[in-house]
Amino acid sequence: MLLRHTPKEIKERSALVINPAKTCQPIGAMYAALGIHGCMPHSHGSQGCCAYHRSTLTRHYKEPVPGTTSSFTEGASVFGGQANLLQAIDNIFTVYEPEVVAVHTTCLSETIGDDLPQIRDKAFKEGKVPAGKEIIYASTPSYVGSHITGFSNMVKGMVSCLCEATGKKNGKVNVLPGWVEPSDMTEIKRIAAMIGVDITMFPDTSGVLNGPLTGKHRTFAEGGTKIADIRKAGDAIGTLALGEWASADGARTLDSQCKVPCRILDLPIGLSATDRFVDALRIVGGTSVPAELELERGQLVDVISDMHQYFYGKKVALVGDPDQLISLTEFLVNLDMQPVYVVTGTPGKRFERRIKELTADAGFEVKVKAAGDMFLLHQWIKNGPVDLIIGNTYCKYIARDEDIPLVRHGFPILDRVGHQYFPTTGYTGAIRLLEKMLDAFLDRKDRDTPEKHFELVY
């Protein structure tokens, strides 16, 4: 029992986190930055931070992840990191030749009070930024929020550093996809194209973190949103922000900065949330939903109807990031399943309220916790078992100890592939989720059913 040290008895904890269901802001900023074409994420802090973020992203995607660091030393921590950052900017543009450097802070540089806007100005004034190249930045102190906050802050940084309004609308629609997988970003673009809406999506990590084997090591991959396109996002007719937690700030900043009206939607995971996304796209683009997309929706409803008896009443423990959990909870309720435990490490009471709302009429008790951790989730499970866990790789300790099937979803997934290539957003993504859950339930049933009750056909 790997987690034999987890007691069943639950005591209120105030001073510590055990087995976190979150990590810190900078890695979110790094992931978002990788969704810009030719972007070098830069960590303004000690070199360990950058190494950890790159390693974690590499384990999750099985891809090389570029990233540079200001390599703080004791001196920099006393006298400020400006000299390090200026030197870093100079070196990065000279050697790696990125289109843009996306600087994020760390707890260290935040606390010593480095002023990023001022350092950025200085870099431009001193000619350290070649013509046509850019520096964007985000303040991402590790002791505030979570990795999701960091992602959101970097998206906001893209808007505030790059977006301009010329006063002439270009007819395009911005989509901020939220912290989803590269495969999901491809799916979101596909759905928009089917509906006939001309979108600019940023960030876009498709083609960056699920690239092909080319025989070449390139610091920067083919994919990512072009800087020029992000600049023009200020002229769009509207913004759809997917995920309140990861995308709303960026969309609202764009609204106040360039007068681009925005709508905040849930991540299009599951039937109802995808319906709302499709509807919003249709309305903002002034188009109609094509037959091909109707077909995909019909197929999803068909699969649910075919197999609904296997979903009925299944108790599920969910752990992950707020935007994903909100949509997943709604989807599971639609499937007549019972998401009885919902835990995110990201702090915020409004998350708890939202989950309560989504499950208010569902007829079962739901325990929900923001700023929670996996230790608490495990204790809940010890006190009342579930049929399925949905969460990241770290759930496998609980799954093994308690002998509960696990569907991997979220960040990080360190021990499987698939998330890079197959989306869980959109209608076909929902079918994939159904397939994964059914596989988990029915493999378990085939394993556990006594011989005399063993069935061939489900």
Partner: protein, 488 residues
């Protein structure tokens, strides 16, 4: 884009790269990474955490924001034969409030609760960058908790910005040294050792312990793989420290020599010669008080090697003439790997480390063939440039190097903390050969661009060779066309 400049090396880094046979040896190292480089290096905290974390019955509390704990949560497969407390992740999760008002109270409360619940035999409290800035007095909190709870509560002064991983090793050694000398040593044999610098990845320390036991040597403490607090407390009772890994625990060995008079020998468990040499060195040390030990050791080595060699020969048949690149954390591994590759009939074309010292690199220049590239603190651009230039077949490295190798269409062997099979000892040598064979000979490389031209040529000839990767250029023939291709 960066593709246009694969040959650019930071001017400041020229003296951290050396080519064996090119003029006199002179190399800079142990230098802070250049700001703005895509360094493969980590920080002080990382160094301390990896050294101490395998002590399985201790509490490991990370005092800092959540990231430092989250990124180090059980990412190394340091196995335990008993408690699994080290696999949990404990963090004070410092928030903005704590940064302003200080985190000492929170730390004390966390320790209070954790020690009461888990009854660890000791607690290590790691400080992180932010703790160094806000100035929490870890010493004071730990002293109070030690008195209150009756177990050693030890601060690990591992603020990330205070250097690189090596500084973290030293901080870890200082922390462990506080435990050494506090346990009862009465029943310890005069023929006894501590194993230092092995982290029991994939169960490796169990292999080594087994050899020692067969030699008649008592193992007092594992430091730190499958480690226990009580063993470390009485480690000073051992007659000898056997130190692997040039960086991680050498400082502790030196402290124990100074304070407790325990001598140490260096050891390496990777590869046939290094493994056998290490065992003989230990036998040699004890032969005065246990004359039979030399024969027992010889018998052990003979038995193991004679079982191993025929199995290796099978692998060598396929691997003969292939080339390897090595990029490891500590340089000691590089030495063993160079020898291990020779047993497979392979040459090492590129070798580098994150934390090598000047002596390490000088020695590497001695033992490598002319033309071998030696490199300190490499970045991905440099690594991929040399891998292509030397047309290597297998890259040996860690988590960040794996996808680079694969993108280039080169095989890979994880020799770092993410290895899943035991590579130490004689059976580890076989596992290593198998791992190299599995990757270097994989059919997947036939489908990658790097080999496509060669495949086409082979197809034209009518018969494709069974091993599509054997057509490497002759030694000394620089593979420039590949690079030009990359530029275009």
């Amino acid at each position: 884009m960066a593709e246009t400049s694969p040959l650019t090396v930071f001017e400041e880094r020229q003296d951290q790269i050396h080519c064996t046979g090119d003029g006199p040896f002179e190399m800079a190292c142990n230098r802070d990474s250049l700001a703005g480089a895509v360094s493969q290096r980590a920080c002080v905290f990382c160094g301390s955490r990896v050294v101490l974390y395998p002590i399985a019955d201790a509490l490991h509390l990370v005092h800092g924001p959540i990231g430092c704990a989250a990124y180090t949560w059980d990412i190394r497969g340091s196995l335990s034969s008993g408690p699994e407390l080290h696999r949990l992740s404990f963090s004070t999760d410092l928030r903005e409030r704590d940064v302003i008002f200080g985190g000492e109270k929170k730390l004390a409360a966390a320790l209070d609760e954790l020690i009461d619940r888990h009854h660890p035999n000791a607690a290590f409290v790691y400080s992180t960058c932010i703790v160094g800035i806000i100035g929490d007095d870890l010493e004071a909190v730990c002293r109070t908790m030690t008195e209150k709870k009756g177990i050693p509560v030890i601060p690990v002064l591992s603020e990330g910005f205070k250097g690189n991983k090596r500084a973290g090793y030293l901080a870890a050694c200082k922390a462990m040294n506080r435990l050494v000398g506090t346990g009862d040593v009465t029943d310890i044999s005069p023929v006894s050792v501590n194993i230092l610098g092995d982290f029991n990845l994939a169960g490796e320390i169990w292999i080594i312990r087994n050899y020692f036991e067969r030699m008649g040597v008592q193992v007092v403490a594992n430091i730190t793989g499958d480690g226990r607090v009580a063993d470390i407390r009485r480690a000073h009772g051992a007659a000898l420290n056997v130190v692997q890994c040039s960086g991680a625990t050498l400082d502790l060995a030196k402290m124990m020599r100074e304070e407790h008079g325990v001598p140490f020998v260096r050891a390496a468990y990777l590869g046939i010669e290094d493994m056998a040499d290490s065992l003989y060195r230990i036998a040699d040390f004890f032969k005065g008080i246990d004359p039979g030990i030399v024969d027992r050791t010889r018998a052990l080595v003979r038995e193991e090697v004679s079982a191993l060699l025929p199995r290796l020969a099978e692998m060598r048949r396929d691997l003969e003439g292939k080339k390897a690149a090595i990029y490891v954390g500590g340089a000691f591994k590089a030495f063993s790997l160079i020898k291990a590759f020779r047993h497979l009939g392979m040459t090492v074309a590129v070798v580098g480390s994150q934390t090598g010292t000047e002596e390490d690199y000088a020695e590497l220049a001695q033992v490598t063939d002319p033309g071998t590239i030696i490199i300190d603190d490499a970045n991905p651009l440099e690594l991929s440039r040399f891998v292509k230039e030397k047309d290597v077949d297998v890259f040996v490295g860690g988590v960040k190097e794996r996808p680079i190798a694969y993108k280039l269409g080169v095989g890979f062997c994880d020799h770092n903390h993410e290895r899943k099979i035991a590579l130490e000892g004689f059976e580890g040598m076989y596992n290593f050969a198998r791992e190299v064979h599995a990757s270097a000979m994989s059919p997947v490389w036939r489908f990658v661009p790097r080999r496509e031209a060669q495949n086409r040529a082979a197809a034209k000839g009518g018969t494709a060779p069974a091993d599509a990767g054997s057509d490497a250029p002759a030694p000394g023939e620089a593979n420039i066309p590949n690079d030009k291709e990359a530029v275009a």
